[in-house]
Subunit: 250 residues, 2 copies
Amino acid sequence: MPFGEQPAYLRVANDLRKKILDGVLAPHTRLPSQARIRRDYGVSDTVALEARKVLMAEGFVEGRSGSGTYVRERPEPRSIARSGYRPSGGPSPFRQEQSDESFKGTWESISTQESASSAIAARLRIQPDDKVMCTRYLFRTEGEPMMLSVSWEPLALTGRTPVMLPEEGPLGGRGVVERMAAIDIVVDNVVEEVGSRPGLAAETAELGGVPGNAMLVVSRTFYASDRPVETADLIIPADRYRITYHLPVK
Amino acid sequence: MPFGEQPAYLRVANDLRKKILDGVLAPHTRLPSQARIRRDYGVSDTVALEARKVLMAEGFVEGRSGSGTYVRERPEPRSIARSGYRPSGGPSPFRQEQSDESFKGTWESISTQESASSAIAARLRIQPDDKVMCTRYLFRTEGEPMMLSVSWEPLALTGRTPVMLPEEGPLGGRGVVERMAAIDIVVDNVVEEVGSRPGLAAETAELGGVPGNAMLVVSRTFYASDRPVETADLIIPADRYRITYHLPVK
DNA sequence: TCGAATTTGTGCGTATGTATC
DNA sequence: GGATACATACGCACAAATTCG
């Protein structure tokens, strides 16, 4: 690569990106195939592959094995409502009610009993290696994977009660607040810490995208007055979703 | 790759990631070189390269040409409180920027009168090209740039009042809620939308980092009952900060 | 100061498996 | 089934940056 030039795979990626942004390659259309790129740009297979990888990492295109590489739609990120504040009186002019629907999708979950890591122990204010019930979720909306979630509950609270398993029994899948109420624990406040970090390979494999795509991570802890009763990490693709908080101002 | 297995480059990446997370490979230490990975894991050059690329995309390591691939330090992001809910009813929570420890710092600002873009007009529910007061902020904590902010207020509300300029006059720098109260507008709720996107060159130049580094973007709108009175974008480096909401559970 | 060895980053050609059409 | 396309994988070459004797 002579001085001052950029790598061939970036030159190809830049040209294809420009065509996408200019609308020459519209959403849902197929990118030139790897073999086609090789001929069109006079580059090797490797360069054509690397160029496609760049656009995939940037979220402009997605590869479908056996079919082709397609330009992705880049819709305005959808909002996920994280608090249900309503102004008192009158019909609410806000749209959170609709965003709430986004959580009405389907989900899969699996629960396992584990020992608390030091990080989780600190969040739940228990001792490391204390037993916790760990539940992993994959939420979908309209069949599309939307959110990964890992939840931890101290077994000291729920062990040997009907709500020990979050998704089993009469209150299965009813949420932390209702389940805890059933064993006389009043959940009355929650702390949510919102951050963003690159997605891990295991996460992007489930939610779509490639390793490194930005994820929104919500670390949520429910409290019964001052006592933590559940903590969870919610992992959400940052390019497709935003998180909305509606708060009163005192 | 037989059914049920994962690609070799992910197997290698997973193993190296585990060593980083377990502390076997501490920050600032060198990862095994590509040639070394090839021998250690019995894989090809391509696989070793791809594995390193995964870890680089995930932000765990950074490559230095000619020198090696090094484990990055990952400092725990600091929290920025965005809601001052107190179970016992403590001090008034608005204008966290000043009352909260994490925001004890300095800021610069500059205000200009502008015409509302269509996006801002929609957020403030005014007509495009209506006049707005636009104020740009750069917040610092301990001298470190922490947050960029751009705020818009409809001049139809504040024009020809003492609070027209957010940072001037007797209530300068006192926050939206107090300033609006001075002209008999009761700000009683706020919506914050948290998202993440790659930082633009202009933003990373002011906040540090390189273009493409993830930024947390909070789109905040203050309302007087259902009327928008101010909207702002807060732009925060995602690798250094998280945003904390403390909420009651109904 | 010089030069050799190492390491990353880029690039090439090829082969194979598997998904889709 | 055949053709096409993507994804993974192997082996190699070379330039640029760094390290070290």
